[in-house]
């Protein structure tokens, strides 16, 4: 099956929550909705689920118009940020409840057991949700969503309320769980790292609009616009303006460099350049690189890597460097970028050059 949003819009008391949007989701796919708060992720999910009716446009399931059909008649399951379970029922009964409600009394036990196994809940089936950790509670909620074999499973930032380590664990398991189910999954998150780890397809959103849709790795490596690159970068994307003139590059930070690498084939004119934290490094002295005189603002050390916050003539950048580097605030540092490994956008923010895929 497939679900299609056909030119839908959604307004709440006059405020646009979702601008004209079209989208098709296919069977067996994992779709990550990536965007900051108020990007319209939840609005989009509610339309997909049938909890809200679009103000204009249609919702199609397998090319059949289902706009306005009640959510209870659709094959949809939803998991929220809060852990929503029946507090008085055991984990087993919680998982079985969607089947009982739907009147599917045949092989309840087999289905509950198999979903419980998939989510590692077998030892806890006799407990009530309040006796479980947050991670186990959310697993129960996910099991409930999966057990009835819904065609469309929506997860709205399901890991946001979990501890970092539990998040890490569950995040590693989810792709396998999704694959085993075969439904359409839609997973909303604000975190680029989460999107990357889940893989699948990414739908990048910003202020009620879909900016880009595609294979997660390719959206990450080929953001079509500056905005997508910003939404899909953590640490934040570093930016600087450039002007190409007479075969050389003038950075807005004052540096000049030859127009090599990606700059070689650009027409003369002004551009906006973006590079991610790992694309900015301490000077190596290789002469095809472009070097900047920066001042260290702050160094954050995690042990495995160090985030160095730099200031370069009014531009604030973050560089991530492996291991422990100890720069003190105020230190001068020559930082450099590889002109073959950055993103160039035209003044309207459209991508014009990107590094070759590794």
């Amino acid at each position: 099956m497939s679900v299609t949003l056909d030119h839908v819009t959604r307004f709440v008391s006059g405020v646009p929550y979702l601008h004209k949007t079209s989208l098709t989701l296919d069977r067996g796919t994992l779709n990550v909705l990536l965007g900051p708060t108020l990007a319209g992720k939840t609005s989009l999910m509610r339309l997909l689920a049938g909890l809200d009716r679009p103000d204009t446009g249609r919702v199609l399931v397998d090319d059949k118009d289902v706009t306005g059909i009640d959510v209870r008649k659709r094959s949809v399951a939803m998991v929220y940020q809060q852990f929503i379970n029946y507090p008085s029922l055991t984990v087993y009964e919680n998982i079985a409840s969607p089947l009982r409600v739907a009147g599917k009394h045949r092989d309840i036990d087999a289905r509950v057991q198999s979903v419980a196994k998939l989510l590692g809940l077998e030892p806890y089936l006799d407990r009530t949700p309040l006796q479980l950790s947050g991670g186990q509670q959310q697993r129960t909620a996910i099991a409930r969503a999966l057990v009835k074999g819904a065609d469309l499973v929506l997860l709205d930032e399901p890991l946001a309320n979990l501890d970092y380590k539990l998040r890490e664990e569950l995040r590693a398991e989810l792709p396998r769980i999704f694959e085993a189910s075969g439904a359409i999954f839609v997973y909303a998150t604000t975190e680029p790292t989460e999107a990357l780890l889940l893989g699948g397809r990414t739908i990048c959103m910003w202020e009620g609009e879909i900016l880009q849709t595609g294979d997660t790795a390719s959206v990450y490596r080929h953001p079509q616009s500056l905005r997508v690159a910003e939404v899909f970068s953590d640490p934040p994307l570093n930016r600087v303006g450039v002007e190409k003139k007479d075969g050389s590059i003038h950075y807005a930070s004052g540096e000049r460099a030859p127009a090599n690498g990606l700059y070689r084939d650009l027409a003369d004119g002004g551009y906006e350049v973006g590079f991610r934290a790992h694309q900015l490094a301490a000077a190596s002295g290789k002469n095809e690189r472009h070097s900047f005189a920066t001042t260290v603002l702050l160094t954050e050390i995690t042990g495995s890597e160090s985030f160095v916050h730099l200031k370069c003539d009014g531009f604030n950048w973050v560089a991530v460097m492996p291991g422990v580097v100890e720069y003190a605030p105020g230190d001068r540092l020559d930082a450099e970028i590889d002109p073959a490994d950055l993103y160039v956008f035209d003044p309207s923010g459209r991508l014009v050059a990107a590094p070759a895929t590794m």
Partner: protein, 300 residues
């Protein structure tokens, strides 16, 4: 754009239409019908146009005089009751325990007056206030206070207000308590750290967070007190004189005491309109207070 139209849905709401028609629309139409006619009995009616309404809204006529007198009494009563019950309810809610078995005990005690039927409440206070056998009346007279709600209008008013406060403060208190319970603990901790006094905590946190429930309480108590009938009817019967004759009592006197159906019908329509308008105003205010706007972007 194609829409799915299913006419069968109308059939499903039909029973509700029928029910509403019998319970509200038909009686209302009957009243409207009466309000534009006059009668000399014998079931003979003749057209009077807006005559009753003209009289009603003109204080110099007998009907208008009675209407406005009881309207002012009603408004005064509502104002008095609200002025006492809202602050008192807040105070009770604030002094209630936050956790433990005492919460349940308090809730039960508070709920008790709400469970007693109106006419029983009236009877209780009618006896309670009697100066010969009533605990309240007898005690007051024992202390040399010349209390007699049957003879003294002020005593009658005080009795009725005390009764309403006793009956309904619980409702305000329960609503406020629910509002208070929904305030996250972090707010109190933060205020504590900020060095806020008890009063500052109340004005900066508790009152703003209770705003919504207070509006609901205000609306409910206003409507209820504005339409009060049973209790004063049982206690004072509208007296002494006309001193506690509220609109509803006046209406009953007019319709059932004097069988002035036309006048009574006109009055009940106007009465109804006042209630509806007040309701609408409150509803508008409340929905405006309730909507939290989306945060404006660019906060930093």
């Amino acid at each position: 754009m194609e829409k799915i139209v299913n006419q069968k849905a109308w059939l499903l709401v039909l029973p509700v239409f029928v029910l509403v028609a019998f319970s509200a629309i038909i009686p209302l139409m009957t009243v409207v019908n009466y309000s534009v006619q006059d009668t000399f009995g014998n079931n003979q009616f003749f057209w009077n146009g807006v005559g009753w309404y003209k009289d009603l809204l003109d204080p110099s006529t007998e009907l208008g005089g009675r209407f406005f007198a009881s309207l002012w009494r009603n408004l005064l009563f509502s104002a008095a009751v609200l002025a006492i019950e809202i602050p008192l309810g807040i105070l009770v809610a604030l002094s209630m325990p936050r956790e433990g078995w005492r919460v349940a005990a308090c809730l039960i005690i508070l709920a008790l007056p709400l469970l007693i039927p109106w006419n029983v409440v009236g009877t209780i206070w009618q006896i309670f206030g009697r100066s010969d056998i009533g605990l309240l009346g007898y005690t007051l007279n024992l202390f040399g206070l010349n209390y007699n709600y049957v003879a003294n209008p002020l005593d009658a008013w005080l009795t009725i207000i005390a009764m309403d406060v006793w009956h309904w403060t619980s409702l305000v208190a329960l609503l406020c308590y629910a509002g208070l319970k929904s305030i996250p603990e972090a707010y109190y901790q933060a205020a504590h750290i900020d060095g806020a006094s008890r009063w500052a905590v109340f004005t900066a946190i508790q009152l703003p967070k209770m705003k919504r429930v207070l509006l609901i309480a205000f609306l409910l108590r206003f409507m209820d007190s504005f339409m009060i009938y049973t209790e004063p009817f049982v206690v004072t019967g509208g007296g002494p004189g006309n001193s506690t004759t509220f609109l509803s009592i006046e209406l009953v006197k007019l319709a059932l005491g004097q069988f002035d159906l036309g006048k009574a019908a006109a009055m009940s329509i106007v009465y109804n309109l006042i209630v509806l308008i007040v309701c609408w105003v409150f509803y508008t205010v409340m929905t405006n207070v309730g909507t939290e706007r989306r945060p404006e972007t660019g906060g930093v």
